[in-house]
Amino acid sequence: MSTIKLGVPSKGRLMEKTFEWFGARGVTLRRSGSEREYAGAVEGAEGVSLVLLSAGEIPRELAAGRIHLGVTGSDLVQEKLADWESQVASLAPMGFGHADLIIAVPDCWADVDCLEDLDAAAHQFRAAHGFRLRIATKYHRLVREFLTQQGVADWQLVDSQGATEGTIANLTAEAIADITSSGETLRANHLKILSDALIHQSQATLFAARAADWSGHETHLAALAQQLGLDAPAL
């Protein structure tokens, strides 16, 4: 018999906190088999099975409808899925995995504190250097939409999938857009956060896939939602 497939991050703190969140609501998730085996079991919710996945792949699996439910950061869903609300429904913010997507510039730029300053500095930079001010990030969609909506000009994005804070000292970018929770790495790299450029406040979130085949799962979904204290989602 087919089941509702619940996709959960396969390792680390995100997995542990997810297990705790479900456990506090009477649904026990656990890995089955050995430490290294990515298989799982669900107790306390009928007709639900556990799929352990990389957190970064959960948005794609939700979009494809290969899993029905999934836990991942809201930043990943909004970055990776075009028109994300048409592809997934956000069922519950889970209260952990908090991180802010922000824009940071060199701390030595005393004249740049906010987007108005960044825009003016970008204009000046382009005139002086012949190319647009480079912002290193892996959050292309979110950053592009934010800066366009805010009416900032003369910037470009350069892709950075890791060690983004180092790109400025390495002269491959002038600013960065990245997630931060404590800001410590930013300070260590002599960067400061713009005062009015909080692009997204991310946290671990339970999503439901609109593209998944829900037929035959209605009763189990309603029971699971009730068990978790959530309204039954409109999908």
């Binding site: 075009a82 028109d83 048409s86 060199p106 701390d107 030595c108 730029w109 005393a110 004249d111 504190d113 906010c114 108005e116 825009d119 003016a120 500095a121 204009h123 000046q124 930079f125 002086a128 250097h129 647009r132 969609r141 592009r144 800066l147 366009t148 909506q149 805010q150 009416g151 900032v152 000009a153 003369d154 910037w155 470009q156 994005l157 400025i168 000292a169 002269l171 002038e174 002599h190 400061k192 005062s195």
Partner: protein, 356 residues
């Protein structure tokens, strides 16, 4: 929905009409170097265009529009004056769902590069489009980016403020923010006050931006802080101009009534254009004028702008166009020529004709 053959046939029909109007055909490549497009449109084009890589030619884009390659080819080896026509597919990535969100569609376009009488050329393009679209029921709107530019240019304030406002005419949110800042309607942020009082970071200097660049900007901020605020009356007048919508026949009188002296030459040009349109049989009472038309969607147009739209608001415009003199200057490496043109979405026109 028109299928590809119907769209192609419509594009070919429009191309023939443009050629009959004296244009020569131009056929830009489907693969365009990304660099020039990115330089012109900024990061926005990366979200809208399909980017691919060529081992020898570097980053390439599937042709997102015709204007840039047409201008490039004209500036490289065009006759003066020249009229061009083209028809073919353009490709646009779509981030949102919806019936009108095609990823590839046919455009047919017509462009005039001519120094003699820019307003007459504006009217020629518009009237040609109006005649080709006459059998479907569309409403037409015109605007003129030159009006707002002239009003900004005529402000009595620092040249740096005028330049910053002119740069953001196409981004209304930032434009309004700067207006509020320059007129003292929003408080100077604490960080700016501290900076002007001499606050500096003791962090080590990192990155490509140089200390001299920061010093130059601080000097500009100090000059700005010392300057008189922009009078509220100037802000009100600019906002009234930006909000003006009326039948085109009333536009010159309504613009004069705003009492913005630096607008006079731009109003005269608008009148000249409206006369040229009337001579070509355009009913100015049925034509909508919108002083902000094209502000948020049509960067690189810097004068006359127009769109033809169907009644269904979900549909994209059937035709758009305008004047882009500054683009020819930007791409011409020292040379420039007044240029105006527009495109028709052939498949959409075929759909509308099929509904008749």
């Amino acid at each position: 929905m028109a299928d590809k053959a119907q769209s192609r046939a419509m594009a070919a029909r429009l191309l023939q009409a443009f050629l009959a109007a004296g244009a020569q055909e131009i056929t830009p490549d489907l693969l365009q170097p990304a660099e020039a497009l990115l330089d012109l449109y900024g990061e926005d084009i990366r979200a809208r265009a399909y980017v691919t890589a060529d081992p020898l030619r570097g980053e390439m884009m599937l042709r997102p529009d015709f204007t840039l390659p047409v201008v490039q080819e004209h500036m490289a080896n065009g006759a003066d004056p020249a009229r061009y026509a083209y028809a073919g597919e353009v490709f646009r990535r779509q981030d949102h769902r919806g019936p009108a969100r095609s990823n590839e569609y046919f455009q047919a376009g017509f462009e005039i590069f001519d120094r003699a009488d820019p307003e007459a050329a504006d009217a020629e393009v518009f009237a040609l489009f109006a005649s080709l679209l006459a059998n479907v029921n569309l409403s037409a709107t015109i605007g003129d980016m030159g009006l707002l530019r002239a009003a900004v240019d005529g402000l009595e304030t620092l040249p740096a403020r005028k330049a910053a406002l002119a740069r953001h005419i196409w981004r209304p949110k930032r434009f309004q923010h700067l207006l509020a800042r320059y007129s003292g309607q929003i408080a100077v942020p604490k960080a700016r006050v501290d900076l002007l009082n001499g606050a500096r970071s003791d962090a080590p200097w990192i990155g490509l931006r140089q200390p001299e660049e920061m010093a130059a900007r601080i000097a500009a901020l100090q000059a700005d802080a010392a300057a008189a605020p922009l009078p509220i009356t100037s802000v009100t007048a600019l906002n009234a101009l930006a909000a003006l919508r009326c039948p085109a026949s009333d536009a010159p009188a309504q613009l004069r009534a705003l009492n913005i002296a630096p607008l006079t030459p731009a109003i005269t040009r608008l009148e000249h254009r409206l006369e040229a349109l009337a001579r070509r049989g355009i009913d100015l009472t049925a034509l909508q004028f919108d002083a902000s038309h094209g502000r948020s969607t049509m960067e690189y147009y810097d004068g006359f702008v127009f769109t033809f739209t169907a009644a269904d608001p979900a549909l994209p415009p059937v035709a758009t166009g305008g004047r882009y003199d500054a683009l020819t200057r930007h791409l011409g490496q020292g040379r420039e020529i007044p240029a105006v043109g527009g495109v028709i979405r052939a498949g959409l026109l075929a759909d509308l004709e099929a509904q008749l």
